[in-house]
Symmetry: C2
DNA sequence: CTCCGCAATCTGTGATCGCAGATGAACCGT
DNA sequence: ACGGTTCATCTGCGATCACAGATTGCGGAG
C-alpha cells in the first residue's frame, strides 16, 4: 500500500496524537523527521489520502505538508501524477554533499564558538546515545541517533536559518543514506569522527570540530555514492 | 488594503494570466520573484483571500503558496493570526548574509568552471541591462536587474539545489534590501563589483568572480544592516 | 489460453463551506 | 458628550466535494 511507511514509527513522538500547533505543521515535522532518520526509502510511494487516513485527519493538512516537502526536494511528482520519495541521481547527491560540506562546516565552526555548557552537555548525551546505538548495530536506531547528534551540534550554533537549510539537505539525502544500509564497518569508521567531534565540542575547538564533521560527511558520502551509482536508473 | 502590494507589478510576466503548471506553483513563483525583486516592504500585510481576489482564483492555491513562503521564512504569522512580510532583525540579516557569502561564493566558483558560451552570453546581456538600469536610477528597475544578473551567474553553475537555496535567501532579504532604498552612491559602488564579476565570468576566472560576488554582498550588507538597525522594533 | 478494451478507482488539484479567534468600529448607556 | 461594550467582519485553518488524467484489473471476444 501507499502508506506502508507509516507503520515504522521510530522517531520523535510516535504515539503522540498530533496536538500542538497547526495540523499541517505537525504532520510536516513528523514526516521530515522520518525522512531525515531514513524511515522512508527512495522511490517509496506516498499519497495524501493514504497518509490522511493513516493519521486520521482530513486530506487538507496532509497535502499542504506534502506540497512543502515536494517543493523542498524531498518528494517528487512522477509523470503519472503520483507522489513518491525522491530518487537521487549520483549528480544530485554530489551537489547535496558539496553544499553540506560547506554549510555543516560553517555550522560546526560557529557551534564551537557559541556553545554554552548546556549545549555541550546535550551533545555529550547525544554522543552517548549514538555510541549505544552503534553498539546495537540497529541501522534504524543508529541513523536516528546520528541525525540527532549532528543536529545537536548545529543547534548550538544558534543560527536557525542555517539549521533549517542543513535539515533541508538531510531531508533530501536521508532516504538515500538509509538505502545504502550502513554496516558495522561503516559505523565503526564514522564513530571515529563522531568521537573526535564530541571531544572538539567539549574543548570548543572550532578547527578540529569542523574537520571531524567534514571528514565524517566526506567518508560516508563515498559509500553512499557508490551504492547510488549501482542502482542508477532503478525507480522501484 | 491588504492587497496593496499587488498593484505594483514590475517583475516577470505581469500581464501573464497564470496558465502553465499548477496554480499554486505559478502563484508561488510570482510572489517569490516579487519578493526577491523587492516589490514588497517588510511588515506589509498579505492575506490569502485578498490575494485570491486580486488574482481572480480561489483561496486554495493562494494559501498553499503563502504557506510555503511562510515556511521558508519570507512571510511571518503575527500573533493576531494575520500574515505579513517578514521583518528581519539585524541578527537575522547577519545570519542570512553569512550564509549568502558562503553559498553565493561557492556558486560563483563553480559557475566559472561550468559556464558555457551561452551562459556567458546571457550574463553579458544581463550585465548590459543592469548598467542601463543603474543609469536610470530607478530603484525598482535596478533591483530587478540586479537580482537577474546574480541569478544568471549562479544558474551557470548548473546546481539547481544550490540555486534554490540561494534564491530562498534572496527571498528573505529582498524586502529589507528594498526598504534600504539604494541610492546613486550605492549603485555606483556596487556596479564596480558587477563589472568585475562580468569580466571574470567572461574570462572564466573563478577566484576573481568569487571575490567580486562576495565583496558586492559584503559592501551592500553594510548599508542595509545600518538601515535595519535604525528602524529596529518598528513593525509598521 | 491469450489479448484487447472498458470501467472502476486511484492520483493530485481546485473550489466551496464552516469554524474559532481577534480586530475595529459603531452603538448604547450614563 | 464620552466611555465602555457588543457585533460585524476579517484572519488562518480544516473538512468536504468536484474534476481531469492515469493506472489497473476485470471481463469478453477471438
Amino acid at each position: 500500500m501507499a502508506v506502508q511507511g507509516i507503520s515504522r514509527d521510530s522517531f520523535g513522538g510516535g504515539t503522540t496524537p498530533l496536538q500542538r500547533d497547526s495540523l499541517q505543521q505537525q504532520i510536516y515535522e513528523r514526516l521530515r523527521n522520518r525522512l531525515i532518520a531514513g524511515s522512508f526509502f527512495p522511490g517509496e510511494a506516498v499519497s495524501s489520502r493514504g497518509l490522511a487516513q493513516a493519521l486520521d485527519v482530513s486530506a487538507m493538512p496532509v497535502r499542504e505538508a506534502l506540497t512543502r516537502l515536494t517543493a523542498e526536494g524531498a518528494l517528487e511528482l512522477t509523470n503519472s501524477r503520483t507522489l513518491r520519495v525522491r530518487v537521487l541521481t549520483p549528480d544530485d547527491f554530489d551537489e547535496a554533499t558539496a553544499i553540506r560540506l560547506d554549510l555543516e562546516g560553517m555550522a560546526a565552526i560557529r557551534a564551537a564558538g557559541q556553545a554554552t555548557g548546556e549545549d555541550a552537555a546535550a551533545v555529550r548525551r547525544l554522543h552517548r546515545d549514538l555510541i549505544a546505538a552503534a553498539e546495537s548495530v540497529d541501522a534504524d536506531r543508529y541513523l536516528s541517533a546520528n541525525a540527532a547528534f549532528h543536529s545537536g551540534i548545529y543547534t548550538a550554533a544558534r543560527w536557525p536559518l542555517l539549521l533549517g537549510m542543513i535539515q533541508r539537505l538531510w531531508l533530501i539525502v536521508g532516504p538515500s543514506i538509509r538505502s545504502s544500509v550502513p554496516d558495522r564497518q561503516h559505523m565503526a569508521t564514522s564513530m571515529q569522527f563522531h568521537n573526535a567531534a564530541a571531544e572538539a565540542m567539549e574543548a570548543r575547538d572550532a578547527t578540529t570540530l569542523r574537520s571531524a564533521v567534514v571528514d565524517d560527511i566526506r567518508t560516508a558520502a563515498i559509500n553512499i555514492r557508490a551504492s547510488l551509482a549501482d542502482e542508477a536508473g532503478d525507480t522501484t
